[in-house]
């Protein structure tokens, strides 16, 4: 929870692929190696720098395109939207923040959910959107994730969740915290019926999201370089009053510390997800 949101905001600015103002075509500067890349090439390479392997953050739409069968996504619960039930105001009213984020993104909140085909296999998928208020989890994210998991309990298809979140959405107060319990409780029900749950932890995933469904996959996957933490790096630096070691809280660090099963390059993710799902799913047909 905590100050990670703030950190996340800074991070967000740093990580978004800044478009360079070069006339004629769109170019972007790699955040890993500072190479200037032709946007179309970058996109053709799944938004991974061909030179330094830096994995750019991508939108839910891009993930759908990169990983799943074309036009197979059937979105669910797209109509659920946030409410400013605490009439929370700081430098800006929560109600206004919501409007602004919705207008900018064209979606109602920070996660999209639905059924999709993965190489022909039907799965329940949720993809969080760090671009929408730092992927913060309020009632909408919690409710949509929970409904998706409950759909898995019913339809017995594997559940795959791509997380990307600065943590709980504090403008919804205690109810944002409770989304951690709600989603995790739903995963307990999913486990009872032996439906596989794959968590794909994407950059960045911190706070309340990491301390709930992100860490609870039967298999936890992540992409190279992903920041995964409970407390954000800044908070910890304040606590220990020294700089953090390089690579701390990154995907490879978590692999070493036993928290994730694999760090998966984006171009291998589709095949790996398919294999994992086929191997674990006791409800699916045999190959």
């Amino acid at each position: 929870m905590s100050i990670v949101d703030w950190f996340a905001k800074k991070e967000k600015r740093r990580h978004s692929s800044k478009k360079l103002n070069i006339p004629g075509d769109l170019w972007v500067k790699c955040l890993g190696c500072t190479e200037v890349l032709f946007l179309k090439d970058l996109e053709a390479n799944l938004k991974v720098c061909p030179r330094c392997n830096y994995h750019f953050r991508v939108s839910p739409e891009e993930r759908l395109k990169f990983l799943f069968d074309p036009d197979s996504f059937e979105e669910t619960n797209a109509g659920i939207g946030p409410v400013d039930f605490l009439t929370f105001t700081d430098t800006e009213a929560y109600a206004d923040r919501i409007k602004r984020a919705q207008k900018k993104s064209g979606v109602k909140d920070a996660v999209r959910t639905g059924r999709v085909l993965l190489k022909g296999k039907s799965v329940n998928v949720a993809i969080m959107d760090f671009g929408f208020m730092g992927g913060s989890m309020g009632s909408v994210v919690g409710e949509k994730i929970t409904r998706l998991i409950e759909a898995g309990v019913e339809n017995k298809h594997p559940v795959i969740i791509f997380t990307a979140s600065g943590g709980a959405r504090m403008q919804e107060g205690i109810l944002s915290l409770m989304q951690m319990a709600k989603t995790s409780a739903a995963l307990n029900r999913l486990a009872e019926v032996s439906v596989p749950y794959i968590s794909v932890v994407c950059d960045p995933t911190t706070g309340g999201t990491s301390a709930s469904f992100a860490m609870l996959g039967d298999v936890n996957l992540t992409e190279p370089g992903t920041l995964i933490s409970f407390a954000g790096p800044r908070v910890i630096e304040q606590t220990i009053r020294q700089k953090l070691p390089k690579g701390f809280q990154r995907a490879e660090f978590l692999l070493e510390h036993g928290m994730v099963d694999r760090v998966v390059p984006r171009n291998e993710m589709r095949q790996l997800l398919f294999d994992v799902v086929m191997l674990l799913d006791p409800h699916g047909a045999e190959i």
Partner: protein, 317 residues
């Protein structure tokens, strides 16, 4: 005893009363009428102060160094309390205490965050901020309680899970997440009382329960008011604003459907009378234990807990 700023006038009266008593004792004079008068004034003042507290003041009381801690409350509430230790994997975390005991005739497992009352104790208890192994100890003992059909009582009192290197290395997020999921499935009833500070995921990590109670001056929040202020206003000192807007006091938490009820504290707060606070908690918990004793279908207990949290959240559709 540490005095909070808004308690100062009251404290001054108490000191005056103490002086007069000493005087009348030593000087062999009868100051009883004067003492009575000031005591009455103190009572009135106490009521005035404590019936109109701001959320920021309540936050202070919830963190009062003299508030009763989990371990002391266990000893006041239970007979034959036996503390149990260890996560069976890495370390015994002193910032979570747990054990078994009889609450009247009920065999119960109790688990709570543990703060200290002075610096030395607080350092040992890590200011009530658990590492992953604390949550894992809690889970081990919750599973044991389930095995032996013992209801679980948890006391929440933490600024949050510890944000440190070792905690991150050993999977603070994983430990809390796992507790949330596993608590949801427990076949025994879980009763939680937020006895002081309910700080974020570190609090919830032992709080996925059938019943949740707020002590009158306890708070429960997704983020500390200071943390929230420093993010939103870049100024931690603006926590008087955020402590209000976050809606973290006992009545707010009940109104939002997160807690079931408020447990009244002794006038002025639990730190004025631990025994009375313990008695109030015991009464509420005992009533629930008696009620749950009659439910033999564990599915009902699981279902009740699931639905409690399932309902939480407000959105448009």
């Amino acid at each position: 005893m540490k005095t909070l700023a808004f308690e100062t006038p009251l404290q001054e009266l108490y000191e005056k009363i103490a002086q007069l008593k000493q005087l009348s004792h030593e000087g062999d004079v009868d100051l009883s009428r004067e003492i009575e008068r000031i005591e009455a004034r103190a009572d009135t003042l106490k009521k005035t102060i404590y019936t109109d507290l701001t959320p920021a003041q309540i936050v202070q009381i919830s963190r009062h160094p003299n508030r009763p801690d989990s371990s002391s409350l266990f000893r006041l509430i239970l007979e034959n309390f036996i503390e149990l230790h260890g996560d069976r994997a890495f370390r015994d975390d002193p910032s979570i205490v747990a054990g078994v005991g009889f609450l009247k005739k009920h065999r119960v497992m109790v688990i709570g965050h543990q703060k200290g009352h002075d610096t030395k104790e607080n350092i040992y208890r890590n200011f009530g901020m658990p590492h992953p192994e604390g949550y894992r100890k809690a889970l081990r003992l919750m599973k044991m309680a389930e095995k032996f059909s013992m209801p679980i009582v948890t006391f929440i009192d933490t600024p949050g899970a510890f944000p440190g290197l070792g905690a991150e290395e050993r999977g603070q997020a994983e430990a809390i997440a796992r507790n949330l999921r596993e608590m949801a499935g427990l076949t025994v009833p879980v009763i939680t009382v937020v006895i002081g500070e309910g700080g974020s995921g570190g609090a919830l990590g032992i709080g996925v329960s059938n019943k949740v109670y707020m002590m009158e001056y306890a708070v429960y929040s997704v983020i500390s008011p200071e943390g929230c202020a420093s993010i939103l206003f870049h100024d931690a000192a603006k926590s008087d604003i955020t402590s209000k807007s976050l809606k973290i006091t006992a009545p707010d938490i009940v109104a939002l459907g997160v807690a079931d009820d408020v447990i009244k504290e002794p006038m002025g707060g639990a730190h004025y009378d631990w025994e009375a606070a313990a008695a109030s908690i015991k009464k509420v918990v005992l009533k629930d234990l008696n009620a749950y004793k009659k439910i033999t279908n564990v599915k009902k207990i699981q279902e009740e807990r699931y639905l409690k949290f399932r309902k939480m959240g407000q959105f448009s559709e």
